[in-house]
Symmetry: C2
Subunit: 288 residues, 2 copies
């Protein structure tokens, strides 16, 4: 109603661009915000309400028109595959790239790479709906090149040092690992929880994440309506953030009845100070 678009997020990690939900208009928004959409190979659809996926058929079609050839994986509730199949058939479209559907049906690790792991877990909405947890894996220690030279460490030791071993010189002298390496920083994590009613089980599932996106469709005064509609309020999102002891909270999915969003931020910050509004087109960095 106030010219806000439905939900879609891009999670960038190293060479990966993961698309999370794809509401109507996502393609145009990606153009506006200069997202390199061809780098997306994995799309995660939380649930099958239109504001979270009605932009997907258009994106899949555009990839085809642009002669995409790379594989594309869609992680989604099972009925989506049949919908997309019917649409492609009605359009007489044969996509020039392999499209893979991965049905979400239980809590699971759905993507596992050397550096990052992505899991899905159920959240509480009116229809089956999934949260997504992005977890960086522990990073190897970094070597300190100056000290490697000082102690004349042979290169065949580098891998062992990165994984934490102490260095034993030919003389038998032990140089502690900490003297030769630089800590890599903690593995970072991001959790996406939308759409969902207040559910304390979610807090257990996303413990200590560095950034939590949790929906706040309603202000606290609409708590009853939130419950009935399978949504959360400001204070409920803050409560989950507190219980999960997350570092930072991002709130979004505001009901279209609200033009001004200040109150969302105020109410949430009253209970969880480190909160930000999810603003269209903005980038949020996950840090330790």
């Amino acid at each position: 109603m106030y010219d806000r678009h439905p939900t879609s997020q891009v999670v960038a990690y190293n060479e990966f661009l993961f698309l999370v939900d794809c509401g109507e208009g996502t393609q145009l928004q990606m153009t506006r915000y200069k997202i390199r959409r061809n780098r997306i190979r994995h799309i995660f659809i939380s649930h099958l309400h239109g504001d979270h996926y009605f932009g997907l058929p258009g994106l899949l079609t555009s990839y085809g028109l642009n002669n995409r050839t790379e594989d594309l994986w869609i992680f989604c509730p099972p009925p989506l595959e049949a919908i997309i199949d019917l649409q492609l058939k009605a359009a007489g479209t044969v996509l020039p790239y392999p499209l893979h559907f991965v049905a979400l049906d239980k809590e699971a690790v759905i993507f596992d790479d050397k550096k990052i792991r992505i899991s899905c877990f159920p959240v509480s909405h009116r229809i089956p709906c999934w949260g997504f947890l992005f977890e960086e894996k522990p990073k190897p220690l970094k070597l300190n090149p100056d000290l490697l030279r000082t102690y004349a460490v042979p290169s065949e030791w580098y891998g062992r040092l990165k994984s934490g071993e102490d260095f034993i010189m030919k003389t038998g002298k032990v140089i502690p690992n900490e003297a030769l390496t630089i800590p890599a920083g903690p593995p970072l994590s991001y959790a996406y929880c939308a759409d969902t009613a207040y559910n304390e089980a979610i807090a257990e599932r996303i413990k200590h994440v560095h950034l939590l996106y949790h929906e706040t469709t309603y202000l606290d005064s609409q708590r009853d309506k939130a419950f009935l509609r399978g949504h959360s309020t400001t204070r409920q999102a803050a409560a989950i953030a507190r219980q999960a002891e997350v570092h930072r909270l991002l709130i979004g999915h505001f009901s279209s009845r609200y033009e001004i969003l200040d109150e969302f931020l105020e109410e949430t910050k009253a209970d969880f100070e480190n909160t930000e509004l999810a603003v269209e087109g903005a980038t949020y960095f996950v840090s330790g």
Copy 2:
């Protein structure tokens, strides 16, 4: 690519708002251009390529969220009903208003009212695709109030005068109809032809319309590509307009590869002078 939206038009006639095609983003555009969407009761979908209907599921869903209760009719190729049904089912949505699908499968009058008639006719695309012809019915004559008084015409004669009868005074004197009435102007007509390759049969079907919207996806230099893709060029649209002896031509559906559209207008006007570009958000009046 150049921030142009896919196809959708609103045809306004008296109290009616007819929606013709509904590409992705139509809802947001309707908000932007202050279209009173609740007045729409009839939607015409030309064919099932996404750029002509991917905005429809969102519109139908929004009507539901806004508690629409009025009937809505969708005239469309048959597969659309199954697609929408699957989407509603996956979303757990029961619409609060009656939704009627009318399958387009042959040339026919699909809407017939006291004042306007709407027909569909096949055009030539890669998949089944329909043009739409909006024809106003002959309008009754208007009465000239001053002369009615002069001749003391009783009110029970008004209907007969409007339908063209002469007035016979009690004395037996005949007052010709033309002396008492004002011509109502010609019945107006509008034809929508997209997407379609060049097809002279279309010209026969839309003879003498006051306004013709005909797609021009490509410039004339891309004539071969247009044929292969089931689209038309500038000069082909102009040729149809000439053959059909239409009053005015509106061109649109420009390939996203073109940023500047001047050449479309120039090429078309060279063969059919009374041509305009279909511009987003613009209103075109149909006149005699």
